[in-house]
Symmetry: T
Subunit: 148 residues, 12 copies
């Protein structure tokens, strides 16, 4: 059994409503449902949370420090400036997968810089809902590898 | 009847106390009073909120998504780095007017860059309390134009 | 009675003809008409001028130095590099409102920098024809405030 | 019959006198003569103008808006900073060819940036007098193509 | 049946020998074997190629233009400067997944910029051999989605 | 009697757990204990608070505006981008000492820039727990100096 | 009789297939045919080559060093970074014309910088197939001028 | 007898009125008077002109090309961006002295860059009215030196 | 007994005379006196030196390499460019405290960068004379910590 | 009687030997002789010093603090980086004239930036030996003005 | 016996023909002859190769991975952008000497940056043919040192 | 007989003591001894000097101007900012070899820029003590070449 914290950053609760040409038409509920389905299949226990607040996201990460085996996080807009979330991820020392729905490298210039990327294990971006599913697989692979 | 959300960002609750040579001597209550007066005159219903928290400001914007016809926002310091508020404004698809008490272009370099400006309808800065009143007029004009 | 100089910079005489998706379909005559209407209502006397020449715009500003109580200026393309107009505005010591039809912060990078902004009282951009009307109101408010 | 406006920017009236190692020994009259010769050959009607004034160049472009089928312009030094001329060219919506006598990419750094290049059809630089002749051919080709 | 071209860029034939602390101890043969295993499982036909030559990589991409349904590419060092490969990928119009063994955002500055990223569908980096397997899954998901 | 507000920014509650090679092995409780010991010795009354939330830190600062004589703040990651905290400190007009456990100038480039430094009285960085103790002494010295 | 080497860089063999909105619908064969037609008319002998490989393009240039009177080159993507091709052109000391199908100054930022431009005679960009024809005329004019 | 053209750029006709703390309290007439006095003393014939128009300044420089032995120019705001005036000065091949009333290196950043400085003989800035007098002496010295 | 070298860089001998609004009214003698008082109290032996010469400061540091237990240095203007002093401090391997009288982060931009900061133990700036006293305490704390 | 300190920076003792195409063929002795001649004429007492050492130049400036009425300084290469000399000049509060033999704005890029210029009264560059003579006149004018 | 691979990058086969004022008049054959002479003298076995192709140079380096004791490489233009060659050199783990005929630091700006320099043992530039001979000596010294 | 001045910059007298992992374990005496040995072998007369003072290094260079045939210099930290030493080397017109013990291109960013490199004959870096010996050989080769 692997335990994974899935964290959704700001505005992701508006998915589907929000610029569907960029972020796709899936709602956050649909994404979470698909994640739960895959998790069950792979014998993974999930804890899922969304918040618009930088501080609340850090609180959640710290709260899962002793429970989770890995983290899958889409920091949303905080990707580009939240050194506080970066520092938190670095202090957790949990394998972390950064995911993005859209290809952040084909949009505005400021979106191509992720301040958290240097401290995570790896990054997956551009595949919409699939980014999360691949992220969960990546997290599981890393944990399994380490347990071997 | 037009419904407008007026949002005040961080530290604006300290207006009057705070560097009056830059921000003028009006308190936030006085500004809100003047806004209410003008709103009544123009048959506008206002919802007014101040918060020091980025997440709370986003929550408020999302909460007004189905109620408001337009937004007048002074994002305060978040103007210069809150991509999260920018993304929220972009996802709301409501006509938004960005206002500033001071002329942000005659101060420190970092203040002359607004990360939200590219996604709002327009910006009004430098007229003190008057910036808000002009902002309300602008919002009303845009909504009326669209209703025509 | 308040006296306001309204100055239109280069290419604004081609409004309506010129990229209507950006600048709207109003002609300069229509804008001037609307300004005159509002001026009459507010007991403001207007002097209006358009020129494609940087030197002529400076001549006009200097010429109005002793007549005008305030200036509303849309410097057009000169916004982005005419330090000569900036210096002129700074030397006039008249309250000046900078207006723009389009939201200059949502276009090409070079348009988001205004060299005159640091020396004017405030800036209004993005509301099309309405930018001018709000600009006139702002100018009047500033003059009235000073006379009190 | 094709009608082409040929515009020479500042200091080009001093050609021949001016740094012949960079700009060649042809005078502006000789260039205009060669342009007229080629125009006659190709059944093109030319209107040719030189001015040192940015405003006058814009006036000339606007004046030809309804007459010309295409523009050949050497903006001289204005190439590097006249956003006003750029905006004018963009508003004309006439096919425009930017020409330069010298290779602007093998000189001072600031000369390698043309602010008008992004809004013209194409650019020809480095062939001396020949740049103009090629420019006229290019203009004619574009107009003929469009008429087909 | 889905057909996928897998392309390995320069120096990837030295995997295992090459800085194992960064790139892991897997050889390219092992990676290819694991890819073939997964492909068989998912009913995917693979074509795999490695080259140190930029031109040869472009030739291979063009050669697969009519055969492949998708591309999985690790451009190696060319990631950071080969606009030629970028242009090739853009012209192919095939769904492309960019993969990297290491987390390119936690290394030298120049490695955090990918010139091909803006024209691919998505990017996966930092999971070693697993990056390729996730990349193959991503490619399959995209093709299946499109066929639906 | 001097009253000092001590504010700890994001992730400082994880001290000891968090990268001990950089931040030392002291926990936040130990630091607070040592601060209380020194405060008692120097006849200083302390109010101590830690939060991961930018907004909560501002709320705390505003809440102490009328109580405190000075502030000792370690803004953690917010040091590098929270203009909101900077504006709050500037509006408080209380003598403020910025402290850092690690030498922020010998780490990643982005850590060598503090957005709050220009508005505080002074900065002490690099001495671990000792940075706080020196910070308290500095605050006391400044207040005593002003009272003289 | 004038001998001209015409060199097409990477991906130009995919013309017509490749983003026709940018590069037009002409295939490379059509361009070469039009070049041969014009060459025959002007008594020019052509040698034409396309390659995706930087090294092969340099080999071709060196191979023509003693045969050709001039070079017309569209370096494609190599325009923006191949200092090796630049050095080769500089060492050949043959008059060289750089041509581009699209207006490289109205596209992505990185395309507006040509590393070969400083060492060629001149540059023609933006006229599609016509760029090549004008380039051939320019090359002939330069050679004829030198022979006079 | 030496003939010197003295050229005053934009806004210098407002000297005395204009920010006297920066530019001093001398009017342009007083400066010209002092220049005439010194010229008489040194047997120099002066031609003096002020214009707000870039084009008119270039016209004046070209008009004096065959009359003047030297130029003393205060390009005012054009100092910082008029490549057209720079090109004109370079083409005149007359010894030119650039003068400034204020120390342009102790003001806003953009004022410390002069685009004309690289093509003039020398520059004198910061001595108020005295800058002009020293400029005239410098011009005379250079001409006399050349005549020896 | 702890031995500390105190080094004052260029122009610090002019303290009191020199811009008292920035550096305070204390003379260097007064600072040294206060340092000696505190040193006696804490059983520290001091060696104090001021020099305007970069080379002499390095000589002094090298001369104290075998005597001193720690260094307190105010490198004055050399803070911002003396890589030679930085290299010297790095080679000494003595705990070093960098102190500044003024808050170097609230002044000209170039003062906010210290080239020595990355190789010292920590930095204290902005507390006037108190910066030195805190620096001495910091040095003693570090040495005592190491001796434990 | 006016007392002026004339300071020559590094390598100026090699004048005449050193790159005469840039610095002219005058030796330092000749320059000093000409300065003495003019000083006698104008009733000025001179103290002249040359040094290659930054520290020695500062010592000399401090040594003259109580004797001199003004300073004429050619800081040579130190112009471009000696913040120590800049701070010294700022602390002296004597009117200072910065002079340069060559036009520092028409040479390498790094020479166009003077770190001392912002704190001197004015700058004269480009007139060879004459720069010093004009500098002495400027110094005298400033002192006389102040005595009036 | 020491085995050394000597690699010449693009355009070096044109030495002698190519800009002799920069690269000297030696041909590549003469350089190779001199290298062979010195190698014989020092009991070194050489393998020498030139290629214009980045891929071929990498192939050659990989091919010599098990044969060579050291590498002497002049990467020519690839010095400035071939991260692929850099990665190859880093993976070889052979002592490598980078040589350049010309002083790459006294030419165009872009030539002063070598992307391979950070991963080689050392660099020798500016001594023409002698650079290679010194490079061979350096390589031998390093190998001998390691064998001791 | 060839005469060579060998100059060691700041901190090189601490070699061996100083960061041996970067600079090796050789002392300066050992380096000088090895240089003398090689010099005797090659019939070269050496003058060797070390100083921590920029001015003293310039004095030494000027002092050897008429004696030396060549210079071998390791400017230490001054490499990166001493324009004064650069100007001195440029004025000497002696063939100069710049040497560095460490590979300055694989360390901190600021070390990869040498301000003296553009005016020396060539540069050798990264071979420890061997850099000096190769430097002496290079100097001798250049002098012998010139004497031929």
């Amino acid at each position: 059994m692997i335990r994974v914290l899935v964290l959704h950053g700001p505005n992701l609760n508006f998915l589907g409503r929000r610029e569907p040409d960029i972020y796709g038409s899936n709602t956050l509920d649909e994404i979470n449902q698909r994640l739960q389905d895959l998790a069950r299949q792979m014998n993974i226990e999930l804890q899922i949370l969304q918040s618009n607040s930088e501080g609340a996201l850090i609180d959640a990460l710290q709260g899962a420090a002793d429970w989770a085996d890995a983290v899958v996080i889409n920091p949303g807009a905080y990707t580009h400036y939240s050194i506080a979330i970066r520092d938190c991820l670095a202090s957790l020392r949990l394998p972390t997968v950064e995911v993005h729905l859209s290809n952040i490298y084909s949009r505005e210039d400021f979106r191509s810089h992720s301040v958290v990327a240097p401290v995570v294990m790896g990054q997956i971006s551009g595949f919409g809902l699939e980014s999360y599913l691949l992220g969960l697989r990546a997290a599981a692979a890393v944990v399994n590898e380490a347990r071997r």
